[in-house]
């Protein structure tokens, strides 16, 4: 316990981070993933198995930058919440107010941003190593 006093905000019911904002980053991951897969699959199907992947590599890197930027946007917004649990300044979030619920969902969303960013990078890695459609 840090001893820091957490200030309780009088938040209205239903305001603050909601479930859609929580799943924003994973949705970005899903779209990025689908784009990478569909784009590369269509490219290889149409260009033949000997085609070089140089062009698609640039496109996928571009898509990855866009996806990471979108996730970063969400992260910056959530980073401002930063408030920990109202009760003990920890990550338990077991207080029964709308403010606590907002902080809880913000924490979940923030961690999901991180997970989604890692997963986006994972998906982009194979593109950096493969050179042809074989």
């Amino acid at each position: 316990m840090t001893g820091k006093v957490t200030r309780e905000v009088r938040r209205e019911t239903g305001t603050g981070t909601d479930l859609w904002q929580v799943i924003f980053a994973p949705i970005v991951w899903a779209l990025h993933f689908l784009f990478c897969y569909v784009y590369a699959a269509v490219y290889c199907e149409k260009a033949g198995r000997d085609a070089s992947l140089d062009g698609p590599t640039t496109v996928i890197i571009g898509a990855t930058v866009v996806a990471l930027a979108l996730i970063a946007l969400s992260t910056v917004r959530l980073w401002r919440v930063r408030g920990r649990s109202l009760t003990d300044n920890d990550f338990e979030f077991d207080h029964n107010t709308p403010e606590e619920r907002h902080r809880f969902l913000s924490h979940v969303a923030l961690m999901l941003c991180l997970l989604s960013a890692v997963a986006v990078l994972y998906v982009a890695i194979p593109m950096l190593y493969l050179t042809s459609c074989r």
């Binding site: 019911t13 239903g14 897969y37 338990e92 619920r101 809880f104 994972y122 998906v123 194979p126």
Partner: protein, 831 residues
């Protein structure tokens, strides 16, 4: 309020929620009854599939065995996989959730009890149909994933039984998903903010959402598959422009998330059991929520890892390999959170905990071999060998069966009011744990030594004989352990004392239920202020029992439960839920008849079944939904007056429609995916020489569908503004426009002579057209229904839930129709 008044309230609750007596018991729809039926049925199917597995093991015990023929063996392993996956693993999730979720959330029942009953009857009819096929030698025999062309060109009626039986069961799953998502979001006890709800409900909500995106692609695949088998439309026939890989995509887009659909609810049981026996709150609640959400998403990026050996470009394999590795991160977080909870608590030794620890041990092995096979080059070696059989059984038995066994042991006192025997529990655990490992651990080696899965016998010089014998012995020990547990559950316990209330000293709300549980579940609905209310609020049980909570009466004689807001559980409405009726069962039998008779191409009984289904459905809707209450609001206690009727986005019905249509849209998009899949594999698409459907017909159809949608929306607005005659006129106009849209859409491929049996292109165009026409027809039925409701004054400007819901349906349909028109009419102009 006097003691007499309180007693009168209790008596009234008893009367309103009473279970129907005698044989009318089968018409019950209450979650506590349907949940038990559901669990019992799922376990019966599990025992059946387990018996099939034992025959498989006997056949493989020694080389060159001739216990069963190759044909029978094919049916045995296909049915074993199919029944375990579709009739046990997925339904047991729905069954357990229906049984325990309302009590956990502080609701008297789920929002749509009749829908649960309908889902159960669909499940049991479809399940019995599929399972019994083996006794007639007609069981499906092409493996549980039914790959064409083997299944389309060689299988007998078994493949049709598989398809139609399972499509029917998928309907039940989607019904359960609708019920459970709305249940978690809208029927929590007041004060149960979303950060306070039990972890189990988080998992249920996530899995419900996953079902909406995973099952529909399979339904779309089933449709294409059956069109090929029944009408010879060549979706998967390479000689006529089809491709069997399309089936593999559609199957595994379902099949991989399905593993997580099975795994997450089972691990959710651990999230309830572990804190109880560690006697402390779960460690890292928010971390578990985020990892469950993360797993839910990432699990959709894995499906191609079942197709690593189909010759896809290595870059495709790379993407899916990467995502398959990434999913280990959130899965690991959950496991670490459980281990941390155990380490920080004071563990009470108990049988459920034994099963939990066994589950973790087994699942971790399965998870690690999963990381191995996610690496494509290793998978090339291990693909279709017994290594995969070992891996998948470690995942499913560690990730699903053991947690469910822990859940059965844990929730038995809650559901049945009696305790299970500790001795028998310990015996069953060790027999199962030991037997399982003896059976499946050697299979890793058998697989690496090269034994392919699904062979009915092998020769002695392969060196697989002693490993197989060991597996067979282990499987019988495993089965013995399971039988001990089953016996403990079903043995008569009439003379044993009732279990004490909250027998495990747990902290979550479902344990506040009295023993034996009354059908109304709780005397009054408490206000929740913490994550473990039974631990934190010492007055909770007394306050509930003495009727000091909300909704302590049922004066008006209706079954009622509270609807609260999504995030903060603020009370919004008193919802009157369905009472016992035969209609869901009759509707399920009607729909079952449609599926079963159409398998055998008996069209007259099929049509009769459809009529029974529609009539039962209409009666059910007409008499049981959006009923106008006798007064506007009700005093629920604590000075709170809540409305009895809500329409639009605040209502549970609107959400149910939204969720259903999300699933429906996914199925439609899977068909669109099929269209573009064919485009990628053909150098010229549409193929030269096949013209149609042209752009004119689809464009006109889209325009008419747009008009039908606009008039439906106008009707809702006019009705709300009190201009009822105009609203009715708009509905009539919308009906006519929809009929026109359907006719014009059909005219496109008809007038241009598209022959669906000629090539995959006309076939997929026809499939899309039929899909849309069927949906337009349902939309017209809905418009007619609203017109009738309005005419009989069952729908008024104030009470307009019906038209809100059908307008929502039309939002989805107009989108699908416009997209179809663009694709079938517009895309050939570009390509």
């Amino acid at each position: 309020m006097t003691i007499e008044d309180k007693a009168a309230e209790t008596a009234q609750l008893e009367k309103v929620w009473a279970r129907p007596p005698g044989w009318r018991y089968l018409s019950d729809v209450n979650n506590s009854t349907v949940g038990l039926w559901y669990i019992a049925a799922a376990f019966a199917f599990m025992l059946f599939a387990g018996a099939l597995a034992l025959v498989i093991r006997l056949q493989l015990a020694v080389p060159q065995n001739d216990l069963v023929s190759a044909e029978t063996y094919n049916q045995l392993f296909t049915l074993h996989g199919t029944v375990m996956m579709f009739l046990f693993a997925v339904p047991i999730f729905e069954a357990v959730a229906i049984l325990i979720l309302p009590a956990m959330l502080g609701a008297r029942d789920l929002p749509f009890p009749r829908l649960s009953a309908f889902g159960f009857w669909c499940f049991i009819i479809g399940g019995v149909f599929v399972s019994s096929s083996i006794f007639f030698g007609q069981a499906p025999d092409a493996g549980w994933f039914m790959y064409p062309p083997l299944s389309t060109e060689q299988s007998g009626i078994g493949a049709d039984i598989w398809l139609l039986g399972l499509t029917f069961i998928e309907v039940a799953s989607i019904a359960a998903a609708v019920e459970l998502i709305v249940g978690v979001l809208k029927s929590r006890a007041p004060g149960m903010h979303i950060n306070l709800m039990p972890l189990y409900s988080w998992y249920v909500m996530i899995v419900g959402a996953m079902i909406l995106f995973a099952f529909p692609p399979l339904i779309a695949g089933d449709l294409l598959f059956e069109l090929e088998r029944l009408l010879d439309w060549p979706f998967f026939d390479v000689t006529r422009g089809g491709d069997p890989i399309l089936w593999q995509h559609l199957f595994w887009v379902f099949g991989h998330p399905e593993v997580y659909i099975i795994f997450l609810p089972a691990i959710a049981l651990l999230a309830m059991i572990v804190p109880t026996f560690a006697q402390r709150p779960i460690a890292g609640y928010s971390w578990i929520v985020l990892s469950a959400l993360g797993t839910g998403f990432l699990s959709f990026g894995l499906w191609v890892h079942h197709m690593f050996t189909t010759g896809l470009p290595s870059i495709s394999l790379g993407f899916f390999s990467a995502a398959s590795e990434a999913v280990a991160i959130p899965t690991g977080i959950q496991i670490f959170a459980f281990i941390a909870t155990v380490m920080m608590g004071v563990v009470v030794r108990s049988v459920p905990m034994l099963f939990c620890l066994g589950a973790l041990a087994i699942f971790i092995v399965g998870g690690l071999t999963g990381v191995m096979v996610a690496v494509a080059p290793f998978d090339f070696q291990a693909h279709d060998t017994y290594f995969i059989v070992a891996h998948l059984h470690y995942v499913l038995i560690g990730g699903m069966l053991f947690p469910v066994m822990a859940g059965v042991r844990y929730y038995y006192p809650f559901a049945m009011g009696k305790l299970l025997s500790r001795q028998l529990g310990i015996w069953s655990f060790w027999l199962m744990f030991f037997g399982f490992n003896v059976a499946f651990l050697p299979m890793h080696l058998t697989g690496l030594l090269g034994m392919p899965r699904r062979v009915f016998t092998y020769s002695a010089e392969m060196g697989w004989d002693w490993l197989n014998l060991m597996s067979t012995v282990g499987s019988f020990v495993f089965a013995a352990g399971f039988l001990v547990l089953a016996w403990d559950c079903v043995r008569p316990k009439r003379h044993e004392p009732d279990a004490p209330r909250n027998s495990w000293n747990a902290g979550t709300l479902e344990w506040a239920t009295p023993v034996p549980a009354p059908p109304y579940a709780m005397r009054s609905i408490p206000t929740i202020t913490s994550r473990y209310p039974v631990w934190d609020d010492k007055d909770l049980m007394a306050s509930m029992d003495e009727g000091r909570g909300l909704l302590a009466d049922a004066k008006e004689g209706y079954r009622e439960t509270l609807v609260t807001s999504v995030l903060d559980a603020k009370p919004l409405q008193v919802l009157r839920v369905g009472t016992p009726t035969w209609l869901p069962m009759i509707a399920a039998f009607g729909l079952g008849a449609v599926f079963i008779f159409s398998t055998y191409k008996l069209w007259v009984p099929t049509a009769a079944g459809a009529v029974v289904f529609l009539v039962a459905l209409m009666m059910w809707l007409w008499t049981g939904t959006a009923v106008i209450p006798e007064k506007d609001s009700k005093d629920v206690g604590g000075g709170l007056h809540l409305p009895l009727y809500v329409s639009g986005p605040q209502s549970t019905g609107w959400w149910a429609m939204f969720i259903t249509m999300t699933g429906d849209l996914t199925a439609f998009l899977s068909l669109i995916f099929g269209y573009f899949f064919f485009w990628t594999i053909h150098p010229d698409f549409p193929p030269p020489g096949i013209d149609g459907p042209g752009w004119v017909w689809p464009a006109v159809a889209a325009l008419l569908a747009f008009v039908a949608w606009g008039l439906t929306l106008a009707s809702r607005l006019l009705n709300a503004a009190g201009r009822v005659p105009l609203a009715r006129a708009a509905l009539v106009g919308g009906f006519l426009a929809a009929a026109g849209a359907a006719a014009v859409l059909l005219a496109g491929p008809l007038s241009t002579g598209l022959d669906p049996t000629q090539h995959a292109y006309p076939a997929i165009v026809w499939a899309l057209v039929i899909w849309i026409v069927a949906h337009l027809a349902v939309g017209m039925l809905m418009q007619g229904y609203c017109l009738a409701r309005s005419s009989f004054n069952k729908m008024t400007p104030r009470y307009d839930a019906d038209i809100w819901n059908i307008t929502l349906y039309w939002h989805f349909i107009v989108f699908s129709t416009l997209l179809t028109a663009l694709v079938i009419g517009g895309f050939p102009l570009l390509a």
